[in-house]
C-alpha cells in the first residue's frame, strides 16, 4: 500500500510539469512573436540590440526606432512634424474591411485529393440505371485549380428497368438500351465558390463548390432487345467528354462529403431496329448505321480526403 502511495505521488508530480509545459509553450509563442516584430521594425533596432545585448534589444529596439524616426523629422523640418490629437483620433469611426471568409478553412494548393464515390443515380436515363463505384485522384496546382484522373466501374450494377419490358409488352415498341462497363477520364476542376454555413446559429461548417471538365473513355455496349435470340454485343470503349458541378462539405481540414452531378457525353451506336431476316446472325447488321450523341447525367456521392492532412497558412489570421 505504501509503495502504491509513492507511485501515486510520483504520478501526481509527473502531472505538474505537463501543465507547466503548456504555460511555457504559450510564453514561447509570445516571445517568438516579439522577435518577429523586432526584425520587421528595421535595421535601427538591430543596431541598438547589438550594443545593449539581445535581451534588451527586443524591448528597446521598437521604441528607439519609432522615437528616433519622428524626432529626426521634427528636427529637420518642424513644420512637417506630425501632431496627433489622440482623443480625436480615438473618436474617429473606423471602417474596417471584413472579408466574407477571413481565413480559408481549407487550403488546397499542392495537396492531393482522394475521392471515392458511388454513382447513386442516372438522372436522365429512365430505362437503364448506371450505378456503381468510382474513384478520383486530384492534385491542386493552386488553391482553386486541380488536375485529376478518375475511374468508374459499372459492369455488374447496370439496372434495366421493369418499365422497359412493360412498354415492349403494351405498345409492341422496343427502346434500344445501352449498358456500361467502365469509364475513365482526365479532368481539370476549378473551385468557383466557397463559403460557410451556420447550423441553427450554433455550429459552423465550411463548403465549396467546383466545376470540372475533361476527356476520357467509356466502355459500353447495347443490350439486345430487338433480336435478343441472335444478337450478343461486346463492350467497346468510346471517346467520352465530361462536365460536372460538385459540392464539398468539410468535416475537417482534410475530410469532406462530396456530392456531384456529372454529364458524360459520348457517341453511341445503338442496336439496329431492323432485323436481317435472311441472316439474323450476321453481326454487321446488329448496330445502327450512324452514331448518336448520348448523354449520361450521374448523381454521385462520396468522400474527399486531402493529403497531406495538415497545412500551414502563409499569413497569420
Amino acid at each position: 500500500m505504501k509503495k502504491s502511495c509513492i507511485g501515486l505521488l510520483m504520478a501526481a508530480l509527473g502531472a505538474i510539469p505537463v501543465t507547466g509545459f503548456a504555460q511555457v509553450k504559450v510564453g514561447a509563442k509570445a516571445e517568438a512573436g516579439a522577435t518577429l516584430d523586432a526584425d520587421a521594425e528595421g535595421a535601427d533596432a538591430k543596431a541598438d540590440a547589438k550594443a545593449e545585448g539581445d535581451t534588451a534589444a527586443a524591448g528597446e529596439g521598437d521604441l528607439g526606432a519609432e522615437g528616433e524616426g519622428v524626432g529626426d523629422i521634427c528636427k529637420i523640418d518642424p513644420a512637417a512634424c506630425p501632431v496627433l490629437d489622440m482623443k480625436k483620433e480615438a473618436a474617429r469611426p473606423i471602417k474596417e474591411s471584413i472579408y466574407a471568409v477571413q481565413q480559408l478553412y481549407v487550403m488546397r494548393a499542392r495537396r492531393f485529393e482522394f475521392e471515392p464515390w458511388w454513382n447513386l443515380r442516372s438522372l436522365n436515363d429512365q430505362f437503364v440505371q448506371h450505378t456503381g463505384p468510382g474513384i478520383a485522384v486530384n492534385y491542386y496546382i493552386t488553391n482553386v485549380l486541380a488536375i485529376g484522373a478518375n475511374f468508374r466501374y459499372y459492369s455488374p450494377f447496370n439496372d434495366d428497368s421493369a418499365f422497359n419490358g412493360q412498354v415492349r409488352r403494351a405498345a409492341r415498341v422496343a427502346v434500344p438500351l445501352t449498358e456500361y462497363e467502365w469509364g475513365a477520364s482526365l479532368d481539370f476542376s476549378y473551385v468557383f465558390a466557397y463559403g460557410k454555413f451556420a447550423g441553427f446559429g450554433d455550429f459552423i461548417f465550411e463548403y465549396d463548390a467546383y466545376v470540372l471538365g475533361g476527356v476520357g473513355a467509356l466502355s459500353t455496349r447495347p443490350i439486345a432487345v430487338i433480336d435478343p435470340d441472335n444478337r450478343n454485343f461486346e463492350y467497346k470503349p468510346k471517346l467520352a467528354f465530361d462536365v460536372g458541378i460538385g459540392l464539398r462539405v468539410f468535416f475537417s481540414r482534410w475530410f469532406a462529403l462530396n456530392v456531384a452531378v456529372k454529364d458524360y457525353g459520348y457517341p453511341e451506336k445503338l442496336e439496329n431496329l431492323n432485323v436481317n431476316e435472311v441472316n439474323p446472325g450476321d453481326s454487321r447488321n446488329w448496330l445502327a448505321s450512324s452514331s448518336s450523341l448520348t448523354q449520361n447525367v450521374e448523381l454521385q456521392a462520396g468522400l474527399s480526403v486531402f493529403v497531406p492532412f495538415s497545412f500551414d497558412y502563409r499569413l497569420p489570421k
Partner: protein, 304 residues
C-alpha cells in the same frame, strides 16, 4: 516533543495518510490548473457568444412570396412544367408555415412518346390498307399487332397520357443551415438551406378505368393526397429578394402511360386486358423548382 514527532512520522498509518493526502492534493492541483485554463475560455469574452454576430435575419417575422417554375424530372412519357408560387410566413429565422402550389399547364412529350406515336401512326396506315384488302401481304402480322395493342394504344398516345394538373401543398419549412458564399472570390452572397414537408393535394388526369377497353381512351381527373418533401437553397441578392433552387418529391402511384401493365397473372404483375387501379405505378415524381423570392417587409432584422 521532538521524540513525539518522530514517533508520529514513523507511524505507518500516518505516513500512508500523509502520502495519500499529498498525492490527492497534487493531483487536484494539477487538475485545477487545467480546469482553470478551460474556465478562462468559458468565462472569456467569447463565453456564451453566438456562433455568428450581427446575423442578418432574412426570414424572421417576414412574409415570403416566391413565384416559381417547377420542372418534372425523369419522366417516361411527358415532362410537366408547373407555374406556381410558394407563400409562407416565417415565424423565426428557421421556422415557417405556408404552402406551395402550381398549375401543370405545360406538358412536353418525351422522345419515347414521339417514338411510340411514330410507330403507332405507321401501323394505323398499314391497318387501313389491310382493312381494305384483308388478304394482302403482311396483313396477318398487322392484324395480330392490332389485337395485341388495342387495349393500350389509341389513335394518339399523347391523348391517353397521365399528367399533373395542379398541386397544392401546405407545408412547414425548417431552415437549419445558413451561411455565406464567395463566388469567384469576388461576389459574396448570403445563402441558406431549407427543408419543407407536408401533405400535397395533387390534381391528376389519367386514363379512365375500363373493361372492355378497346377504343376506350378517354381520361378523367382525380385528386390524390401524397406526402411531399423539398430541399432547397436560397441565395439572397439584396435585403428583400433571393433566388431559390429546390428539389421536391411527390411520391404517389398513377398510370402515366395509360397502359394495361398489371392486374392479372401471378402477383397481378401481368396485363389483364383492363385498365384498373392495379395499373397505377408508384413513382417518386421528382421535380426541380426555380423561384424568385420576395420578402416583406423589405427590411430585415439584425441579431446582436
Amino acid at each position: 516533543m521532538g521524540e513525539g514527532r518522530r514517533k508520529m512520522t514513523r507511524n505507518p498509518r500516518f505516513t500512508k495518510r500523509l502520502l495519500t493526502a499529498l498525492t490527492a492534493g497534487l493531483a487536484l492541483l494539477g487538475i485545477t490548473e487545467r480546469s482553470e485554463a478551460q474556465e478562462l475560455y468559458l468565462t472569456g469574452p467569447l463565453a456564451g457568444a453566438p456562433a455568428v454576430r450581427k446575423l442578418r435575419l432574412y426570414r424572421r417575422t417576414r412574409f415570403e412570396v416566391a413565384p416559381a417554375v417547377s420542372f418534372s424530372l425523369l419522366d417516361e412519357y411527358q415532362r410537366t412544367i408547373l407555374l406556381g408560387a410558394r407563400l409562407q410566413f416565417n415565424f423565426t429565422d428557421w421556422l415557417a408555415i405556408g404552402g406551395w402550389g402550381g398549375w401543370g399547364g405545360i406538358r412536353l412529350p418525351t422522345a419515347l412518346t414521339d417514338n411510340i406515336q411514330s410507330v403507332n401512326k405507321q401501323r394505323q396506315g398499314l391497318q387501313a390498307g389491310c382493312a381494305a384488302n384483308p388478304g394482302g401481304p403482311g396483313c396477318d402480322g398487322v392484324n395480330l399487332t392490332k389485337r395485341l395493342t388495342e387495349v393500350n394504344l389509341g389513335r394518339n398516345l399523347k391523348d391517353q397520357l397521365g399528367g399533373i394538373d395542379w398541386v397544392a401543398a401546405p407545408q412547414i419549412t425548417l431552415t437549419p443551415l445558413r451561411g455565406k458564399l464567395a463566388l469567384f472570390q469576388s461576389i459574396y452572397m448570403d445563402t441558406d438551406f431549407y427543408i419543407s414537408a407536408g401533405p400535397a393535394f395533387v390534381g391528376l388526369k389519367e386514363r379512365k378505368n375500363c373493361d372492355p377497353c378497346a377504343g376506350q381512351f378517354t381520361t378523367v381527373s382525380r385528386t390524390t393526397v401524397a406526402p411531399t418533401v423539398a430541399l432547397g437553397l436560397s441565395f439572397y441578392m439584396n435585403k428583400w429578394a433571393a433566388l431559390g433552387f429546390e428539389y421536391r418529391v411527390l411520391p404517389f402511384a398513377w398510370n402515366i402511360g395509360g397502359f394495361d401493365t398489371a392486374g392479372g397473372g401471378k402477383d397481378n404483375n401481368f396485363p389483364d386486358n383492363k385498365i384498373t387501379d392495379a395499373d397505377q405505378r408508384f413513382r417518386f415524381n421528382q421535380m426541380m423548382t426555380v423561384s424568385f423570392n420576395f420578402y416583406l417587409p423589405t427590411q430585415y432584422k439584425v441579431s446582436e
